[in-house]
């Protein structure tokens, strides 16, 4: 079992290094995600945020705009996760006295 685990760990490391070879250089402004248009000529979300965030929401902090507006359902889901965590603690640790 221990050797199997070591094998898994090695396989994971190997896979990650193999994958990292195909990744573009870090911080290179020519990366896909930093372009204005994608290769299928659709809008690239990240660049759109930089250009339009202030015009759309009057807010200088782009992260806040993305968080609160463009991807607000993500944030909503995240809030639900936190809410779920609270409820779950209640569920697991609290017992209500029998009626």
């Amino acid at each position: 079992m221990k050797y199997a685990k070591i094998l898994i760990l090695a396989a994971f490391a190997g896979l990650m290094i193999y994958g990292s070879m195909g990744l573009p250089d870090r911080a290179d402004p020519d990366n896909r995600m930093h372009q204005e248009r994608s290769i299928t000529d659709t809008v690239v979300a990240g660049s759109y945020f930089i250009r339009e965030a202030y015009n759309d929401a009057n807010t200088p902090n782009m992260v806040t705009v993305v968080l609160g507006d463009y991807r607000s359902i993500d944030t909503f889901g995240e809030q639900v996760v936190v809410f779920a965590a609270g409820l779950i603690c209640l569920l697991i640790l609290r017992k209500f006295r029998p009626v």
């Binding site: 015009n55 807010t59 806040t64 809030q79 639900v80 936190v82 609270g86 640790l93 609290r94 209500f96």
Partner: protein, 147 residues
């Protein structure tokens, strides 16, 4: 959680520190539009200030601040604020969470509407995160027990 800790110095330090952390947390929530920060960070800071009192003072003192019982409804209120911000937009003909459709009073441009929409949900997040982090702490500190 213990009923009470017998360390006045620690308690005093915590009581001195706590309001400033809380103030900073509120600042972070409301200033999230202009600088790093927002609902989560602010909520977490608020929670830290409350938990600080709870750790240093014990149960009896912390009751004077926010009672354990109120954290769950507070969390629900936070979620409901966010949910309503989306739902009201639906009622006024937009998509869910489409702040342009929100009926804020006054004659506001879409960008300003979004500005206030974001502010509303940040407040909702702040309340919920604060309440829930405190809630998790409370449950953990009491262990498995009857209410």
């Amino acid at each position: 959680m213990r009923e009470q800790f017998e360390s006045p110095i620690v308690l005093l330090g915590a009581r001195l520190l706590s309001p400033y952390i809380m103030l900073f947390g509120i600042y972070v929530i409301f200033h999230g539009h202009y600088s790093p920060g927002g609902g989560f960070q602010g909520g977490a800071l608020l929670a830290s200030s409350i938990i600080l009192i709870r750790i240093s003072g014990g149960r009896i003192i912390s009751r004077l601040q926010i009672r354990e019982f109120f954290t769950t409804p507070l969390a629900a209120i936070g979620v409901i604020v966010y949910f309503l911000a989306g739902f009201v937009a639906v009622l006024y003909g937009g998509y869910f969470l489409d702040y342009e459709a929100l009926p804020f009073p006054g004659d506001l441009s879409p960008a300003e509407l979004r500005y206030y929409g974001i502010l509303v949900i940040e407040i909702g997040i702040g309340i919920a995160v604060m309440a829930i982090l405190v809630m998790i702490y409370d449950h953990m500190a009491r262990g498995e027990d009857y209410v």
